[in-house]
């Protein structure tokens, strides 16, 4: 990984970073309260299932799967890796709950799939339709993760708060 530049944003140091990420790897950004995992989508498609219909989400080879959870530690990392693995390698469908479903507040991992993901702490988990917004902890608020050839670029990563590790998925 390489740091491209460090900027001050809202009184905090924020850095732009480029990660090298192979198709069989997963990157973890671990903060104080939350963890984000990043993996390549490998250009695969994903099933979105609603009560009414099935939709297919197509991706480009350099697109990313970004998963977010509210917690830190090995248990959380395993949950994030498991979610990405199920979706990507097992082609598990995404079952879409209707708004207000009682299970929504119990869910532990949120996922964004696409070229670019913007993290926000100001949205309710799983309740927004925008394709590029992902609910996250406040420490990742305003962070942007973009798929790049051979890896990912992370914009707005808080300088002092995150550990980054890349592992085999």
């Amino acid at each position: 990984m390489s740091i491209l530049q460090v900027q001050e944003c809202q009184g905090r140091l924020r850095k732009a970073m480029r990660l090298t990420l192979k198709e069989d790897e997963i990157a973890y950004l671990e903060g104080r309260k939350g963890t984000i995992a990043i993996a390549k989508s490998k250009g695969l498609f994903f099933y979105l299932e609603t009560e009414a219909e099935e939709r297919i989400l197509f991706t480009e080879p350099e697109d990313l799967m970004v998963a977010s959870s509210w917690g830190v530690g090995n248990k959380v990392k395993r949950a994030l890796a498991c979610t990405i693995f199920q979706l990507r390698e097992m082609q598990a469908p995404l079952i879409v709950l209707p708004k207000g479903h009682p299970a929504s507040p119990r869910l532990k991992v949120v996922v964004s799939i696409g070229e670019r993901t913007r993290c926000s702490c100001q949205i309710q988990p799983g309740t927004h339709p925008e394709q590029d917004v992902l609910c996250s902890c406040d420490e990742f608020h305003h962070m942007e993760i973009i798929g790049r050839p051979g890896g990912a670029e992370i914009l707005g990563l808080a300088e002092e708060e995150s550990n980054i590790a890349i592992q085999k998925l």
Partner: protein
């Protein structure tokens, strides 16, 4: 989109732009989003928007 593992909830999915496609190889019809459509049944890229 934001989805949730285990029982994903991506909110008002019907408002997301999707196109209807037909596979010219296996005639499967499906609704898809994204730039590189592929038939989810036979994996062919020989598809057209209908």
């Amino acid at each position: 989109m934001c989805t949730v593992g285990g029982g994903p909830d991506i909110g008002n999915i019907e408002s997301l732009a999707a196109k209807d496609y037909e596979c010219l190889d296996c005639k499967n019809q499906f609704k898809g989003m994204g730039r590189r459509p592929m038939c989810p049944s036979c994996k062919s890229r020989n598809v057209k928007a209908v």
